[in-house]
Amino acid sequence: GWIQDKQGPMMPLCPTPCQCEKDGIFVMVDCSELGLSSVPANLSPLTTYLDLSMNNISEIQPRAFHRLHLLSELRISGNQLRYISGHALQGLHNLKVLMLQNNQLERLPDDAPWDLPNLLSLRLDANLLSEVPAGTFRGVRSLRHLWLDDNSLTTIPVTALDSLPSLQAMTLALNQITHIPDYAFTNLTALVVLHLHNNQIQSMGERCFEGLHSLETLDLNYNDLKEFPVAIRTLSKLQELGFHNNNIKAIPERAFVGNPQLQTIHFYENPIQFVGKSAFQFLPKLHTLSLNGATQIQEFPDLKGTTSLEILTLTRAGLSTLPLDLCEQLPRLRVLELSHNQIEDLPSFYHCSALQEIGLQHNQIRRIESQTFQQLTSLRALDLSWNMIEWIHADAFTSLHSLIKLDLTENHLSSVPVAGLGSLTHLKLRGNTNLYEAFSPDNFPRMRVIEMPYAYQCCVYGSCESYKPSNQWDTEQSNTDEDLHKRTVAMYPIHAESHYDPDLEEFQMEIEESKLQTSVQCTPTPGPFRPCDSLL
């Protein structure tokens, strides 16, 4: 085959039936998906990129690449290779990327390892490796990225890893590793990312992560850990830790004392019952903390020094009180989810000025004081359903200018203060059997969905013809049309007649849309058996 060279004469040495492309004086050769059973013979010494992936190559002849000193990337993934000797890869002095994933490799060379002094990325994932001989990596000392995931390893290849001082990212995921011994990664001082997810790790030595001074990401998800991995204590640079889907029952006191840089911790899907009160202290960069179903938690965790928390979820535990200084500790809180506890009294959330969502459903709250939700001007959703609330102070909601969703379902209310609730679009009051008042629509100009205890309370929302004289409802509707038109023109006088303005078009469409939503969906809907007149 020949390469067409736009500027100069035809260049030889593009092996049939491969495709070649010039890159300056160099050549990039694509022989992928051609049904080849061996490496093409007449490859140009100026080849810098060679793709042999997705063929039927089961063996690499010795010295197959010995002339390719300039080769930078070699892809042999998706073939049937069982073994690659050290001699097969001779001559590849400049190789940086070697892709061997999706083959049938059962063994790696030990006595005569690959001599690839400039190799940076080595993919061995999706093969059949059950072990990695001690000497395998002796000739790839510059290696930075290593994929060994989706193999059959049962142990950490500790000795083999000793030869990789420059390694920065490694995955051993999807193997059958059951234990991490002490000092397993001692020489990997440059390692930043370590994936161990989807193994069968049940135990680990308390010193197993010694030496990982640069580690920022540790992924232990989907294993069989029964104890909290205290070995993480030596990982001072750790930022992201995952051990969700394990079998851990307790998070000890001062669990993360050695990890002040932690930003995210994922540990859901663990049967966690106990959490030490000081477990999550002094994590100034942590922004999310989720604890669900830890039934032995009786006291709210002490979050001293964990000042960046934005999302706190602590549900289905045994909390009965909240600390009075909760918001002083967590000034940046945006979402507070405390449902399914036994909370009776609420502190003032005054200093949590960034709060947008509060979930307190399924607790034992009885009263809402005036200062409980004061100054929460960003609060958008407040769920107080399934409590025992009998009384709400008249000023409790006055500063909640952004509140659009309020759920008071299943409480013991006989009245609800409406001051401050003008932005509501969703209000739920079902199940407050002592609440008979029919709230006027004027209180809720933006209301869209409202659930009332009784059907007759929906009649004020025009849900039944017998209550509302029809002409008043229509005329009322037409007035609003004229108002809207006048206000639009007033805002854009110059565009009123002469000039088409897309922004105005969009603005008018929004008005049209909002008009469609003026009809409020109020339930229970009045009907023959639920007349508009109160039966009492």
């Binding site: 890159d23 920065q168 990312v193 920022e216």
Partner: protein, 115 residues
């Protein structure tokens, strides 16, 4: 420096497909292959690969193997927080692509790294 020149054979001729349709390409992949939706004009074609295309990283799991976009400043990456090669104008240091290098290191435009 690698350049993905191998065109992706569309429709059902791909080696990694388990189920496919001529219109949508691969609908599911053989075990251990990565499923990726390649945009060709207005269409999205399912493609099964042994490694994700440039600008994406692969995540293997027992159920399926997926390709996820790297950060904007990365040409290629190991996972969402660790780049292995930067876009032009960014320089790699310990998996991060930054416009400037830490003290003591200088920017190499050819390698796009802090050296």
């Amino acid at each position: 420096q690698h350049k993905q020149i191998s065109g992706v054979s569309s429709g059902c001729q791909q080696g990694g497909c388990l189920t496919c349709s001529d219109y949508n390409g691969c609908l599911s992949c053989k075990p251990r292959f990565f499923m990726h939706l390649e945009r060709i004009g207005m269409k999205q074609i399912g493609v099964c690969m042994t490694s994700c295309p440039p600008g994406f990283y692969g995540t293997r799991s027992p159920e399926r193997n997926t390709c996820t976009k790297c950060r904007l400043e990365c040409d290629s990456c190991f996972n969402k927080n660790f780049c292995t090669r930067c876009r032009a104008g960014f320089y790699l240091h310990l998996g991060k692509c930054q416009e400037n290098c830490p003290e003591g290191l200088v920017r190499s435009d050819t390698q796009r790294e802090c050296v």
